[in-house]
């Protein structure tokens, strides 16, 4: 018993008191900023492994970006990744960051389906479906619930059955072999229900886009409520995205 208490004491305080303002360590690559500096557009676009960069004007599609940072290394004057992890949005085209733009990505409350805030404003349970995910986004979604990020304090949790869920969080590019199980899972969630795409693979197929082994028809069939970019998604991107979707400001605990 004493040993257990000692161990507990030695851990110190591990939780992040305010997930909306927490700083991430190191050179985290979040929302990019593209300067108006002239650059060789074609060479810039060719650097990107997933075709996320388009030219005239230069734009980066965060739905395709793998956040490898190659473009920023090769063209440091042109592209810079900020540590802003609040990159979740409700509209697919909001993910296209344009040259010169340096505003935070925000969720417009009018663009959120009415029932989401009305019904799910205080508690939200998700079923997670990995449909060809590489276990990196799954890892980070698990981390959302650990003692550091502690998403459970906001009433947001992953549950074991679609019957208990208010929506699904999809990771992975959606393989042909997972298309049917995904549909069955979605159908089993009681309406009204939410769909969140977590990670670049889920949003656009990522590096797997165009592979014949995928079947992404599910995504075309239903409205998507939240896009959370990342490769993998950072827990803070996910938690902040869901909190804004719910229209919640997390209570700030005294330090």
């Amino acid at each position: 018993m004493l040993n257990n208490l000692k161990i507990l004491f030695h851990q110190g305080k591990q939780y992040i008191p305010d997930v909306t303002t927490a700083k991430v360590p190191g050179i985290f690559r979040g929302r990019p900023v593209i300067s108006p500096e002239p650059a060789d557009g074609q060479r810039l676009a060719d650097v990107c492994p997933t075709g996320a960069i388009s030219v005239n004007p230069v734009c980066i599609d965060l739905g395709k970006c793998t956040f490898c940072g190659e473009c920023a290394l090769m063209f440091p004057e042109k592209i810079r990744f900020t540590t802003d992890y609040k990159i979740s949005v409700t509209e697919r085209d909001q993910l296209v960051v344009k040259e010169g733009a340096d505003q935070p990505l925000v969720i417009d409350p009018d663009k959120v389906r009415k029932e989401i805030r009305k019904i799910f404003g205080h508690s939200l349970k998700f079923r997670q479906v990995s449909a060809g995910g590489d276990n990196s986004c799954e890892w980070e979604l698990n981390a959302c619930g650990n003692v550091n990020f502690d998403m459970g304090r906001f009433g947001i949790e992953f549950v074991a059955s679609p019957r208990h869920a208010d929506g699904i969080v999809i990771t992975g590019p959606i393989t042909e072999n997972m298309a049917e199980p995904l549909q069955i899972c979605y159908d089993a969630v009681p309406a009204p229900k939410i769909i969140i795409l977590a990670g670049t693979d889920a949003i656009s197929g990522g590096i797997f886009a165009g592979s014949p082994a995928l079947d992404r028809r599910f995504i075309e069939k239903y409205p998507i409520d939240l896009f959370v970019p990342g490769n993998p998604v950072h827990p803070l991107s996910f938690i902040n995205g869901v909190l804004s979707l719910m229209g919640r400001k997390p209570p700030v605990k005294p330090q």
Binding site: N4, G26, I27, R29, R127, V129, D134, I207, P212, A213
Partner: protein, 498 residues
């Protein structure tokens, strides 16, 4: 000579791989593994060549540090005698050859689909039609789990045949994660795309797979890595091992409802992966490893930070372990649960930490060392019992070992070498790269075409062998012990399904 001897990370002209008739090819390779437990099959794959299928078999000898490569050209219209009838470790490779090319075998005991690959030979067969083994009995019942599981994990289907609470048989059906990776390696041309693909094979082993790809690409291109590149890769591989082993200790504690262990190990993983983010901007080290260059050099400042992280990690990790390994309620769940005997492990060709927990000293860091492993003088952590306890112990001790290696490496940080240009791969070459990821041996093989582009790319994750170890481990265990057995291995679905 019916085979050619190569070493890890060596490229040879494809034409130098001797081609024998199938019977001689079978005798040779089955003979290799039957003669010595120190030899196992690291890759056995095929590719279409003219009207037939060219089979290439690579057997690694852990004692002589050599790899024996041989080949045979076969036609798919007649049944072949199987390697599997001679040694079980070839079982899955032959199922894969059957699934991809329609090669049929006269005496393969378990000819079932592997992953329902998109480009499989028989497209009429779909993943919903998997032929599960069943037993007619009024005493027995079946339990189906998946493909979607209760936790936030990847999909796969488990079918248990139980006698009361006891598991008689488990069949694991995979393939749900198949993204067509091997084909994409051949179709995609720019190196940036290939490297990105490699690190997305299995996101929890981003370093392991991308090092295997980078080494393979470099040996195909005749590129000599400088010390700083090897240094960064060795550090990254060991950090990945520490992070995942620690996370898995947390998961094992969760599955025995030991909250303290679950939380403490869970939080101890965080500083390690956050350090990866400080180094390369990604908690899972994506974007760090690239062929032919040191994308994020390991600086003196990073070394200082890592020392700090390790200094704080180690005492807490040791303290938690001391408590866990003396806790009777935890030990009673670990000991004699999920046993894989050394005999079974060797029969199925188990690799990595799962094999080491069963008494097989299989570790690429010692047997076919690459990067800076030769100078670390690695000695594998080997346990004898093959149960959950042994696997948990291996993880714990490997973390200690990795921390010690990192400390040793941190004593002498190499400066950045002059940049050499990476040429494109040579023509008509074959190369093989082995890396000891945290799960075990990762094998990437490639064949280049007459224009130097990839013609065949073959990926083998350690899970390819080890899923069978899990299926064997749970036999005669309570079905309620399945989660800890599963977590003690923590195998990859996507690495298997590709």
């Amino acid at each position: 000579m019916k085979y050619i001897t190569i070493h890890n990370n060596q490229a040879v002209p494809v034409s130098e791989i001797p081609e024998s008739d199938y019977e001689a090819f079978l005798e040779l390779n089955a003979g290799f593994v039957q003669q010595s437990v120190e030899r196992h099959c690291v890759s056995y794959f095929g590719y279409v060549s003219g009207a037939g299928v060219k089979l290439v078999c690579c057997i690694a000898d852990d004692q002589s540090h050599e790899i024996y490569v041989s080949s045979s050209l076969v036609q798919t219209d007649k049944k072949l005698p199987s390697f599997t009838a001679r040694h079980t470790c070839f079982e899955k490779f032959e199922r894969e050859l059957h699934e991809n090319f329609g090669i049929s075998y006269s005496d393969h005991p378990w000819m079932k689909p592997v992953r329902y690959a998109h480009d499989r030979y028989d497209k009429g067969d779909t993943i919903g039609d998997y032929p599960f083994y069943s037993i007619e009995s009024e005493e027995l019942h079946e339990v189906g789990v998946g493909p979607i599981h209760a936790g936030v994990i990847e999909p796969g289907h488990f079918r248990f045949i139980c006698n009361g609470e006891k598991i008689l048989h488990l069949e694991i059906q995979l393939g749900y994660q198949h993204r067509g990776i091997e084909k994409l390696f051949v179709e995609k041309k720019p190196l940036a795309q290939l490297a990105t693909l490699a690190e997305n094979i299995a996101g929890d082993t981003a370093v392991g797979h991308s090092v295997a790809f980078a080494q393979l690409w470099e040996c195909l291109s005749g590129f000599e890595t400088s010390r700083d590149v090897d240094y960064a890769r060795t550090i990254a591989l060991e950090l990945e091992r520490i992070a995942i082993h620690t996370g898995d200790l947390s998961a094992v504690c969760t599955d025995i409802a030991y909250q303290l262990g679950s939380s403490v190990f869970g939080r101890l993983r965080t500083p390690i992966i956050n350090f990866m983010q400080e180094w390369c901007g990604n908690r899972l080290s994506k974007g760090l490893i690239r062929p032919g260059r040191n994308k994020y050099p390991f600086t003196q400042a990073l070394a200082g930070r890592l020392t700090e992280v390790l200094d704080r990690f180690e005492p807490d990790f040791i303290e938690m372990n001391r408590e866990l390994f003396l806790l009777p309620s935890a030990l009673s769940r670990f000991e004699r649960t999920g046993v894989v005997t050394a005999e079974d492990a060797s029969a199925i060709g188990a690799v990595g930490m799962a094999a080491r927990a069963s008494g097989l000293s299989r570790d690429i860091r010692k047997s076919h060392p690459h990067a800076l492993y030769p100078e670390l003088g690695h000695e594998p952590v080997v346990k004898r019992h093959g149960d959950v306890y042994s696997r948990v112990q291996v993880r714990k001790e490997e973390v200690y070992q990795s921390v010690a290696y990192l400390r040793k490496l941190l004593e002498d940080i190499p400066g950045n070498a002059e940049k050499e240009t990476l040429q494109s791969p040579g023509r008509d070459l074959f190369a093989l790269s082995l890396v000891e990821g945290w799960r075990g041996e990762i094998c990437h093989c490639a064949v280049t075409g007459p224009d130097g582009s990839l013609k065949v790319y073959k990926v083998k994750d350690p899970s390819f062998h080890n899923w069978m170890a899990l299926a064997l481990a749970v036999r005669n265990n309570e079905i309620s012990d399945f989660p800890i057995c599963n977590k003690s291995f923590n195998l990859s679905y996507c690495g298997h399904d590709l």
